[in-house]
């Protein structure tokens, strides 16, 4: 059983603010408990295979013009700067 405090700690790290912690903790606990079935899969010695993408698949590193100013779509764009919350001291 994953401790409720651990789930609350992760929520904070993920920058998630919820009203009813109990509601989330119970369901998240049951979901994580379900994942415990992975312990019996017997895959300890298995190599993790990853999909390899050849470098030739990457698009060319060239400027692609965009017809518009994306920055103007930001809610907090103030004409010459973007307003953001203050950083922690």
């Amino acid at each position: 059983m994953v401790a409720a405090e651990e789930i609350e700690r992760v929520s904070k790290l993920m920058r998630i603010d919820v009203d009813d912690h109990r509601e989330y903790v119970d369901k998240v606990q049951s979901m994580i408990e379900f994942f415990d079935v992975l312990d019996s899969a017997g895959v300890e010695s298995e190599e993790i295979s990853m999909q390899e993408i050849p470098i030739s698949n990457l698009r060319n590193d060239e400027h692609v013009p965009f017809d518009g100013k994306l920055i103007e779509k930001l809610n907090h764009y103030k004409g010459t700067y973007v307003r953001a919350p203050k950083m922690s001291s």
């Binding site: 994953v2 651990e6 789930i7 992760v10 929520s11 904070k12 790290l13 993920m14 920058r15 998630i16 603010d17 919820v18 009203d19 509601e23 989330y24 369901k27 998240v28 049951s30 979901m31 994580i32 379900f34 994942f35 079935v37 992975l38 312990d39 019996s40 899969a41 895959v43 300890e44 298995e46 190599e47 993790i48 295979s49 999909q51 993408i53 698949n57 990457l58 698009r59 060319n60 965009f66 518009g68 994306l70 779509k73 930001l74 809610n75 907090h76 973007v82 307003r83 953001a84 919350p85 203050k86 950083m87 922690s88």
Partner: protein, 481 residues
């Protein structure tokens, strides 16, 4: 005006001058006005579709070259970007997000004169399998509106099933095209990973998700695949499909094919009606000249846990971009410290997205990764190997798309584990990158059952041939709505 025609029939009717695009699209909009109050397949309906329809009619009349879609009204899952249109992902977080560009699939459909009739409902950020997690309300199943239409592309499937459009595009991360296709009795196709560009699909779990068509017939899915598949420099995971014509030779048949019945997908959790339909499907496949034999994929029983571990991890990373500064809603920054602002802004995420983000932070974290995330990746690797070995002996695999019949709204929403189990038969194709299709196969007590066929990677053409052959063996009643 008969709206109950396939995409290919629609094209033929417009080409031959029997119907005009404007008339058909206009009737489609009327149909949406009439039935969507009950179904809620759409989050938004396009305003300028009749102008588009008239333009295509003009091209037809003047003998100008017209794209393959001939103004076909198509719905698009609302996690696929259409330039200058809202793309909400059924989330309050993106309530006012207007996409600045077209997804590659949208560009391709526009080039072929498709008409986008509206954006279809989904579970928020495609996380769910009933559409009940949409922030704008659940969709209803056209076969019985008290029941869920499946998900997460539930709006897409319901809109095709209820004749509110001719075809739709959805996205399939763990069955999100095939599951609602099965529940709504339409065809749902998940291609080989990389066959269709994901550029412009709002990411949930990039390593396994794919865009796929939902259509009334298998031939229509092949038609759509011809248009939307292909290499894309904006998505480096796309593969070269050699510009295959998926429609040509679709009537080839399956004589001599070896088909494996996946033992773990017809086990004790399978509803009796679904089991009976599966046995019937096997008999029909054998009747078509295929040889069917039971096959075991040991890792399937761990696949759902691996799937949710991997997808939550990728979702945790993908959704980190929603800080309400780059995307988001009106929420003043004044008076907030950076982290607390983001945390407060994220209250707009619905409960399922919030849960998966928490899990996505937990399972790959220091001290937990070995037990969860890395083990899930190992299960994925072993499952991929097992499936590869099976395809050395078999041409195709068969299993019911969903082990249970469509269920009532609210029945499973508070039980995440019960919902997990519904995914059992679909996640394998995603985790292993294989193509899979759900074919409408039976109606039991007024509720649809779909049959799933899976092929080896890059054998999409053969898979469509088999799906077409199976489709021809059934004659299903019309949707009652």
């Amino acid at each position: 005006m008969n709206l109950k025609i396939s995409a290919l029939e629609y094209v033929q009717e417009v080409q031959s001058g029997n119907i005009s695009v404007e008339d058909y699209v206009s009737k489609t909009i009327e149909r949406i006005s009439k039935v969507d109050e009950k179904i809620h397949a759409f989050l938004s309906v396009s305003e300028n579709v009749l102008d588009q329809a008239r333009m295509i009619d003009k091209k037809v009349r003047s003998g100008e070259k017209v794209g393959a879609c001939y103004g076909m009204p198509i719905s698009i899952k609302d996690n696929i970007c259409i330039k200058d249109g809202k793309t909400t992902c059924a989330s309050k977080m993106l309530e006012n997000f207007v996409a600045p560009y077209d997804a590659t699939v949208i560009q391709k459909l526009k080039q072929q004169d498709a008409v986008f009739v509206g954006k279809a409902n989904l579970d928020e950020f495609a996380m769910g399998l009933t559409t009940e997690f949409s922030a704008y309300g659940a969709s209803g199943n056209p076969w019985n509106t008290d029941y869920v239409p499946g998900g997460s592309s539930g709006g897409s499937a319901a809109s095709v099933s209820a004749f509110e459009c001719v075809a739709s595009l959805g996205s399939d991360t763990g069955g999100s095209v095939r599951n609602p296709a099965s529940f709504c009795s339409v065809v749902g196709y998940k291609p080989t990973y990389g066959l269709i560009s994901r550029f412009g699909l709002i990411s949930y779990a990039n390593s396994i998700e794919q865009i796929g068509p939902l259509t009334r017939t298998v031939k229509d899915s092949a038609f759509m695949l011809n248009i939307i598949s292909g290499l894309d420099t904006n998505d480096n995971t796309t593969i070269d499909g050699n510009e295959q014509d998926f429609l040509s030779g679709i009537e080839y048949g399956i004589e001599g094919k070896k088909i494996g019945i996946i033992k773990e997908m017809v086990g004790e959790g399978t509803a009796p009606e679904v089991l009976a339909a599966t046995n019937d499907a096997v008999s029909k496949l054998e009747g078509l000249g295929a040889t069917c034999e039971e096959v075991s994929l040991d890792m399937v029983k761990y696949s759902v846990a691996a799937y949710y571990t991997i997808t939550a991890t990728e979702a945790g990373s993908n959704l980190a971009r929603y800080d309400n500064l780059r995307y988001g809603y009106e929420f003043p920054v004044e008076g907030y410290e950076f982290n607390s602002y983001i945390a407060k802004a994220r209250r707009r995420f619905g409960p399922e997205v919030t849960r998966r983000m928490i899990i996505g932070g937990f399972v790959p974290s220091a001290g937990q990764a070995g037990k969860y995330f890395l083990k899930a990746l190992k299960v994925k690797s072993k499952l991929t190997r097992e499936v590869g070995e099976v395809f050395e002996r078999f041409d195709l695999l068969v299993a019911p798309t969903v082990p249970v019949l469509p269920f009532k709204k609210g029945e499973k929403i508070d039980d995440p584990i019960a919902l997990f189990q519904v995914d059992l038969n679909t996640v394998t194709a995603n985790l292993t990158g294989r193509p899979a299709v759900s074919v409408p196969f039976a109606i039991s007590n007024g509720l649809p059952i779909g049959m799933q066929l899976i092929a080896d990677s890059n054998h999409d053409k053969m898979l469509l041939q088999a799906a077409y052959a199976l489709e021809q063996t059934v004659n299903l009643p019309e949707v009652p709505i």
